[in-house]
């Protein structure tokens, strides 16, 4: 990743595919005489074949004019000050004396600005000599079993780093893709994009290097001579480890993995890493010592790291030939903490963090006889001879006595063996490993547990996702029900109003009829009121009777409505009472049945003549007033009817809103549940990954336990007896 200001957009570069397309016509895209018309290597599809990295695509081009083959690097990302960098690097490398270098690792190149035309623009390329070599990783795929060759390559690598640091150069991205191995097994270094040379001091780095080769403490801005120190240790350690134990390549390097033996995680969290644990627990102290070294370097700032080259003697190290190295001569005197001999004194012994696995290595059989061992060895023949002498002398004696020297020899041997440290060491190693193994979950059980939990989770999760559409359907159903209800209500009201409107014609005729009747009744009542008894008395009613009638309130025809016959019990005769307008009965002295009949006939005549003259129809004004009343009523009803639709619409809107609110609540709930599920699944994945690592650690620990058992067996009594004579 390159350093850049976060605000200004960087100049854009073509993609790898855009370069490949342009290179279909090298006659057109290049101006440089050697590149113009050059023939690119092609893919199966007949298109220019790229070798791509993170920052560029490299193409192999064979010049049409010179026949020379070149590697042309086309940049896919902006690198600040690129031209200046390449000029400075080129100048610095030109000053190297090839004869002084450990091997011809440096590469001839030429930075050509504006060399290639892609689309409407021109871009720079780096024209390099083509190197016939394979990447370090593919070389190891083919050669890891050749311990001699790997060990020699490790030393050549160390020598290369010495060349670099002697000239204050740092490559910046040492890794398996940038270290190529030529046919004669010497190294070539490619990809100088991130190279540091003193002239570039202060410029800042352009990249952070391959993640599986970097110190966790390497920062974006680190740029100086110490850039390569950590990766150099990682590569050197890996090569030495493979040279010592070639099986490590197949055990720790995943086929096609983008690393050698260790990855990013091994450096950042060594406690949980398979690779580093395996190397730390390795029976060979060269391997475990170097691994421990890398582990401790991962926590130191780059500038404090010791350069690899300072700690290795310049002369070529002899390849280690057996897995049981180092031999007795190279065995650490004790203070070096398991460092290989050549490191002792150069390197402060790193303290091992107690949290991570510390495995005391099992001794590989007995080593170095002590005085006691020698004495035991000498005593055996002596005591045996003594027994022989005793037996041959033919002296009669109990077998117990005869066996005494042998028994003594046996006992002494047992004692001497028990004084050997190797047995304690081996037991401690075995105990340590067994304990570590015990701390790990049993991988098969843990996997089964994870599987079950996952299964359960997936079941509830699929229930949840199945429930979601159902809940949505429920919301929709409620919405539809509400719409339906609103509609029904509207229709019902409409019908009621329509009925009322339909009845208006009938209402009108009724009202007109009633008004006419009222008018006629009023007329008749008026006429009756005007006909006074005193003015035109009916037959047989004189002034006295009229006065008496007036006294009870009967003055006009309107003041009474009829009469009733009554039985006068006392005289056994019939009399009469008059019915007055309010329905009460009055008795008027002098008004008997006959007079009452006369009064009633008089009143009826008055009624009949009034009815005969009553009005026969309503006046226009009266009629219009009634008609207007009905019209108003019609208008009211029509208004009510038309208000129904907007009211229903409001209900619909309300229901819609309720639906939408419900939906968004549901969506939100679902989103949260989805996020929660993602979190849960992420955790499961993490556990699956850990499990896989644990399985590997478990396997390698189990193997170590087995090895420790073997070595304990090599310390058996019989082995000891052999040791005191043979020394091994």
């Amino acid at each position: 990743m390159s350093v850049r200001s976060p605000t200004a957009p960087q100049p854009q570069f073509p993609s790898g595919a855009a370069y490949a397309e342009a290179l279909q016509h090298t006659q057109l895209c290049f101006r440089h005489p050697e590149l113009k018309g050059a023939r690119p290597d092609l893919t199966k599809l007949g298109l220019p074949r790229a070798i791509s990295g993170a920052f560029a695509s490299v193409f192999s081009l064979t010049s049409a004019t010179s026949g020379q083959r070149y590697a042309v690097k086309c940049f896919t990302r902006y690198v600040p000050d690129q031209e200046r960098r390449y000029q400075a690097i080129s100048a610095r490398l030109a000053r190297l004396d090839r004869a002084e270098l450990s091997q011809p690792w440096n590469l001839g190149f030429e930075y050509l600005p504006d060399a290639i035309s892609v689309g409407q623009q021109r871009y720079p390329v780096l024209k390099m000599e083509w190197i016939e070599a394979v990447t370090l990783s593919s070389w190891l795929d083919d050669n890891h079993a050749d311990r001699f060759a790997v060990d020699r390559l490790a030393d050549r690598f160390a020598a290369l780093t010495r060349d670099l640091s002697q000239h204050e150069i740092a490559h910046g991205d040492l890794q398996h893709g940038n270290l190529l191995v030529a046919g004669d097994d010497t190294l070539r270094l490619v990809d100088y994009d991130g190279m540091y040379v003193p002239d570039l001091a202060g410029l800042g780095g352009t990249e952070r290097g391959h993640r599986n080769y970097q110190s966790p403490l390497r920062g974006n801005d680190d740029f100086g001579v110490e850039l390569d120190r950590f990766s150099a240790w990682v590569i050197f350690m890996s090569l030495k480890a493979i040279a010592t134990d070639p099986t490590l390549w197949n055990r720790l390097h995943q086929p096609s993995g983008e690393f050698l033996l260790l990855t990013e995680e091994d450096f950042s969290s060594p406690g949980g890493s398979t690779g580093l644990q395996t190397l730390l627990a390795h029976p060979d102290q060269l391997v475990s010592g170097l691994a421990d070294r890398v582990r401790s370097l991962a926590f130191q700032p780059l500038e404090l790291l010791p350069p690899l080259s300072d700690t290795i003697p310049k002369q070529r190290t002899a390849p280690t030939v057996t897995t049981t190295s180092p031999g007795p001569a190279a065995a650490p005197a004790g203070g070096a903490g398991g460092l290989p001999g050549w490191m002792t004194g150069h390197v402060p012994s790193p303290a091992r963090p107690t949290s991570t696995a510390t495995v005391s290595t099992s001794p590989d059989g007995f080593r170095g006889r002590t005085a006691l061992d020698v004495a035991t060895a000498l005593l055996w023949p002596l005591l045996l001879a003594m027994t022989g002498v005793l037996l041959m002398a033919g002296l009669p004696m109990p077998t117990a006595v005869a066996g005494a020297p042998v028994a003594a020899a046996l006992l002494l041997t047992a004692f001497a063996r028990s004084r050997r440290v190797e047995r304690a060491q081996a037991r401690a190693a075995l105990a340590g490993l067994t304990q570590q193994l015990g701390r790990l979950d049993e991988p098969v059980k843990a996997a089964e547990k994870l599987r079950k939990e996952k299964e359960k989770f997936e079941a509830t999760e699929s229930e949840r996702s199945a429930a979601h559409p159902k809940e949505q359907d429920k919301l929709t159903a409620r919405y539809h029900a509400e719409l339906k209800e609103a509609e029904q209500r509207k229709v019902r009201k409409q019908r009621e109003i329509d009925k009322k409107i339909g009845k208006l014609a009938e209402d009108l005729s009724k009202a007109l009829l009633k008004a006419l009747t009222d008018k006629q009744n009023a007329y008749v009542r008026d006429r009756l009121g005007r006909r006074l008894i005193a003015d035109s008395p009916p037959h047989g009613i004189g002034p006295t009777l009229a006065a008496r009638l007036a006294a009870v309130g009967i003055r006009s025809a309107a003041d009474f409505t009829g009469y009733r016959t009554v039985q006068n019990n006392s005289f056994n005769s019939t009399g009469a009472v008059l019915v007055i307008s309010n329905g009460r009965l009055v008795n008027v002295t002098g008004i008997g049945e006959a007079k009452a009949i006369g009064l009633d006939v008089w009143r009826r005549d008055v009624v009949a003549s009034a009815v005969a003259r009553q009005p026969k129809a309503l006046g226009t004004a009266e009629r219009q007033q009634i008609e207007q009343g009905i019209t108003r009523r019609r208008a009211q009803l029509t208004d009510q009817r038309s208000a129904l639709e907007p009211a229903t619409e409001a209900l619909r809107v309300q229901a819609r809103k309720k639906l939408e609110d419900g939906r968004s609540r549901l969506t939100q709930k679902h989103t949260l549940a989805g996020q929660e599920a993602a979190r849960q699944r992420q955790e499961f994945s993490q556990r699956a990954v850990t499990l896989k690592q644990n399985r590997a650690i478990h396997e390698s620990l189990s193997a170590s336990v087995e090895a420790a058992r073997m070595s304990l067996r090599r310390l058996a009594y019989a082995h000891y007896v052999r040791f005191i004579y043979v020394g091994r």
């Binding site: 370069y19 791509s52 893709g177 969506t667 679902h670 993602a678 994945s685």
Partner: protein, 278 residues
């Protein structure tokens, strides 16, 4: 930190393209030379597969950093690969690289080096053909992708999570796609939840918008729905987009509306440039 897993052959990532192949994709879309939407989208995907192949090419050949599916949805839902990969779902990139349906010759104007332009023909590998027929069963397509995603996360729990890229012109004809979209992003590897990006190619007009951080200003409800379905851009993609001159913020989503062809490729490119390839 999520979305930082190394993409490697041991921890590969899958990229699942969903391609709208409904009838409406035969409509033309703007630019000086109008093109059918289906052509635009097919070109983008073919270009991208070439791009991925080149990006993952090493000395010994194309490496399987990615495994790729191209799923079409229209009259049916299923693999949109043509030729020998026809009918396949997730295919390792090396196999994709070697097996296009055919290699077309296309004419192209390039600078002649003397200030003018000259017409040449360039080889253009094709893996899928433009199709525009049928409805837009986006839900079914997303569900199809979900099953692929779920299988992938099970197989590669440590990988950078799968990336689903949906290219469509809008309206789903089999219901609201939101829930199906969320089902995809509810799957996760140890490195984070699966990513869903949407590319909306619409003839409705409006301002082309790339990686917006709000739905305000999007022209229609389809665009807004697609926006809300899209995953927020992981931080390294955000900074990559920013270095390309895009204006981005914390809430920027993997959504492009009515982008022209270059933005389309750029969008897909960012989507796949998940992290440093190593």
């Amino acid at each position: 930190m999520p979305y930082t897993a190394e993409i490697s052959r041991t921890n590969p990532t899958s990229i699942i393209f969903l391609v709208d192949q409904s009838t409406s994709m035969s409509d033309p879309i703007g630019g000086e030379v109008p093109q059918q939407k289906a052509d635009v989208v097919a070109d983008a995907i073919n270009r991208l597969l070439t791009e991925l192949s080149v990006k993952c090419a090493k000395e010994e050949g194309v490496r399987d950093y990615f495994h790729v599916a191209v799923v079409g949805y229209g009259a049916t839902v299923g693999s949109a690969f043509a030729g020998s990969l026809g009918g396949r779902d997730i295919v390792p990139l090396s196999e994709v690289a070697d097996n296009p349906a055919r290699v077309d010759e296309r004419s192209k104007k390039v600078p002649d080096g003397a200030g003018g332009l000259v017409e040449t023909s360039v080889s253009f590998p094709l893996w899928m053909d433009p199709v525009a027929h049928g409805g837009t069963p986006m839900n079914r397509a997303l569900q199809y992708a979900e099953s692929l995603v779920s299988g992938w996360t099970e197989r590669y729990p440590a990988s950078f999570p799968p990336i689903v890229i949906n290219l469509t012109d809008g309206e789903s004809t089999d219901g609201d796609p939101t829930a199906a979209a969320e089902a995809i992003t509810s799957h996760a590897t140890a490195d984070g939840a699966a990513l869903l990006f949407n590319l909306h190619v619409s003839a409705a007009g409006g301002t082309p918008t790339a990686f917006p951080d709000t739905a305000d200003g999007l022209p229609d409800s389809y665009a807004r729905t697609l926006f809300s379905m899209s995953s927020p851009l992981p931080s390294h993609m955000r900074s990559y987009a920013a270095s390309q001159g895009q204006r981005v913020s914390e809430t920027t989503r993997g959504f492009v509306y009515n982008a022209d062809i270059t933005t389309v490729v750029q969008f897909l490119d960012i989507g796949t440039r998940a992290t440093e390839l190593r």
